[in-house]
């Protein structure tokens, strides 16, 4: 009996079913989330016939091929597309973070007329999908002469990402003790310096969270590049992949290879932010 007690302490026994359940759920979710990505990656390395014969099979010596990658890298402007995507994503995310943090700070710290109205408008921005305004956005871009420029995409993505960013960052700004800003004011620090030297460094974990949430939809977006910047020079990677998808014939090797390559940069960015992201998600939960 004693041995049993030592092997399975009472609290441990109670803990086991709970942690098994939690892990089972998490594991199931991981499988579901990773499945399509794994299918894309393994099929990118297979011959066309092998893809259709056994979509889930791993590439073997017969079916292994790099023809898709060759197609993508040689026959299309993959470098340019990636560069476009990268520029748009980094600029948009950077500006969303900066403007979002500034707006969140202003809306929570300062009392001014219209504060509530602006907060309300941002909340509306979360609830109403920006795509509903596509037609007006397009006509606006036409009159601004911004069609087929990356600027158009950056502007739209800032508008798309800002409401949620402001919302999340406002919550974090509220958790920063008021005394810190007051101490800074007593230290004769200007309001701008307070924001950049005191508040912004403290918002880092929250900003990483927002960065990831903002970055992924922008990187994956097909809609706005297709409408606002379909020109050869301004194509983003998701749009670039489409050239292999034909009405009658689809070059699956190339599509899957392009998608596999498209995952890489976003994976790198995610790894950079992920440590901060986890801190951001769990901060406040554990003291």
């Amino acid at each position: 009996m004693k041995l049993l007690d030592r092997l399975m302490p009472a609290s441990g026994i109670r803990q086991v079913p709970k942690s098994v359940t939690i892990h089972a759920v998490l594991l199931a979710y991981t499988v579901i989330a990773l499945f399509p990505i794994i299918v894309v990656v393994i099929n990118a390395f297979k011959e066309r016939r092998a893809i259709f014969r056994d979509p889930l099979g791993l590439p073997d010596s017969d079916s292994f091929t790099l023809v898709g990658f060759q197609q993508v890298l040689l026959r299309s402007d993959f470098g340019l597309y990636s560069w476009n995507s990268l520029v748009v994503t980094i600029l948009a995310v950077g500006l969303v973070l900066l403007l979002g943090a500034m707006a969140a700070w202003a809306l929570t710290e300062y009392k001014f007329k219209g504060n509530l109205l602006i907060t309300f408008l941002f909340a509306m921005g979360i609830m109403i999908p920006i795509r509903l305004g596509t037609v007006s956005i397009l006509s606006l871009m036409v009159s601004l002469d911004l069609v087929n420029t990356l600027t158009a995409l950056v502007l739209v993505y800032i508008a798309q990402g800002l409401p949620l960013a402001v919302y999340i960052l406002s919550e974090f700004v509220r958790t920063i003790p008021k005394e810190l800003t007051e101490a800074a004011r007593c230290d004769s620090v200007s309001e701008y310096k307070i924001f950049f030297c005191v508040i912004l460094p403290l918002l880092k974990p929250a900003m990483a969270t927002v960065a990831v949430f903002t970055m992924i939809p922008i990187w994956n977006d097909l809609w706005f590049p297709l409408i606002l910047a379909p020109g050869e020079e301004t194509r983003t990677i998701t749009l670039g992949v489409q050239q292999f998808v034909g009405q009658y014939v689809t070059d699956w090797n190339s599509v899957l290879s392009a998608l596999t390559l498209a995952i890489v940069p976003v994976l790198i960015l995610y790894t950079i932010f992920s440590r901060q992201l986890i801190r951001g998600l769990t901060s406040g939960a554990v003291k």
Partner: protein, 371 residues
């Protein structure tokens, strides 16, 4: 260093009046303690002084200059917060140097200033650490250091010791006192702890419901409280209050009678009152003596608290309720014991029905009577 003058300062939050016209003179180099129960407006007053909150009405002068509406920085004040409010992402050195750097002082000057303050506060070995790696007491020093390096005209402290544990609080209190003597700075210090107020303050301002109840030196407040509120607030344990009736008003030797019919003689000028007026008699626990033959009262001990050097006896005296006595630590009384105790007539306090103190005559003290 500077003098501070408050002239009919009022503060309103929406419809709520928080401060109803505060007048106060703080001399150059004076250590002034604002004390009162929570919600009495003492912290608000400090924030008005600092400029973090706007003054609704009245004038505030620092060094004869009106500073209403000026930013905290331009008033030349430095504030130490209850929560220390250290910048969590900066190390101790940067925390202390931040304000100076921002205002564009050259590096050499900043270094010297910070090192000087750090040595004074004995935190020069901690300069590389982050606030989260420091103990409460060390954080407190850094917060004070951050205030010192700026050479402010006035130091403002908002309950700086209340987050420290008891022994550290006493130690830091002593150090604060020494620091003040060394810097000879003008200090306004908010606390709800009357021991801090009594030990640190050159002058204590007792506040009650947004008004100044009394201003005075610590011993003046103790011996000559102007109101029953101040009498109750200063001193630990609290002053005992008994309801009594004037049986013979007199300029010196007033005769009183308690509800139970016991006669009391008090050295208090009651010529402004009439025979039969109801008053509150105040007795400090430390002035009541078991061997005193004046004004004797009998009662039953209900509880005894031993503090070592002394003990508190809680005594039920019947109709008038319960009283606290401060007695010698070796006192052997137990709950249930019947005891007799008394108090010198010149140790008594008397308050009229509005809570205003009546003048004590031949009071057993050298403290001056505030005007």
């Amino acid at each position: 260093m500077a003098s501070v003058k408050l002239n009919n300062i009022k503060k309103r939050f929406g419809d709520v009046d928080v401060l109803h016209g505060i007048d106060l003179d703080i001399k150059d180099g004076e250590f002034v303690v604002l004390i009162g129960e929570s919600g009495c407006g003492k912290s608000t007053l400090l924030r008005l002084l600092s400029g973090l909150e706007d003054i609704t009405e009245g004038n505030l002068y620092i060094d004869e200059e009106r500073v209403n509406g000026r930013s905290p920085a331009k008033r030349g004040i430095a504030m130490v917060f209850q929560s220390y409010a250290l910048y969590p992402h900066m190390n101790v050195f940067k925390n202390m140097a931040f304000g100076l750097k921002i205002s564009g002082k050259d590096k050499h000057f900043v270094n010297n200033k910070v090192m000087e303050a750090a040595k004074k506060l004995k935190i020069d070995h901690l300069l590389e650490r982050l606030p989260r790696e420091l103990s409460g007491g060390q954080r407190q020093r850094v917060a004070i250091g951050r205030a010192i390096v700026r050479d402010p005209k006035v130091f403002l402290f908002d309950e700086p010791l209340s987050n420290l544990d008891a022994s550290l609080r006493v130690q830091t209190r002593v150090e604060l006192g020494k620091l003040h003597q060394e810097l000879k700075a003008t200090v306004v210090y908010v606390t709800h702890d009357q021991v801090e107020a009594m030990t640190l303050g050159d002058k204590i301002v007792v506040m009650n419901k947004g008004r100044v109840e009394q201003v005075g030196a610590p011993l003046d407040l103790y011996h000559h409280p102007k109101t029953q509120f101040v009498a109750a607030f200063i001193g630990s344990p609290k002053m005992n209050f008994l309801t009594a009736k004037i049986s013979q008003p007199a300029p010196e030797n007033t005769q009183l009678v308690l509800e139970s019919g016991r006669a009391i003689q008090a050295c208090i000028d009651t010529t402004s009152l009439n025979k039969g007026d109801i008053v509150q008699l105040g007795l400090r626990p430390e002035h009541i003596a078991l061997d005193c033959e004046h004004n004797t009262v009998e009662g039953t001990v209900t509880l005894i608290e031993h503090l070592g050097e002394l003990s508190y006896l809680y005594v039920d005296i019947g109709q008038e309720g319960e009283m606290v006595l401060k007695v010698d630590g070796d006192n052997q009384h137990k709950a249930g014991d019947k005891i007799t105790f008394g108090i010198q007539p010149n140790r008594l306090y008397l308050f009229d029905h509005q809570g205003k103190a009546l003048k004590r005559v031949n009071a057993h003290t050298t403290a001056t009577i505030p005007l």
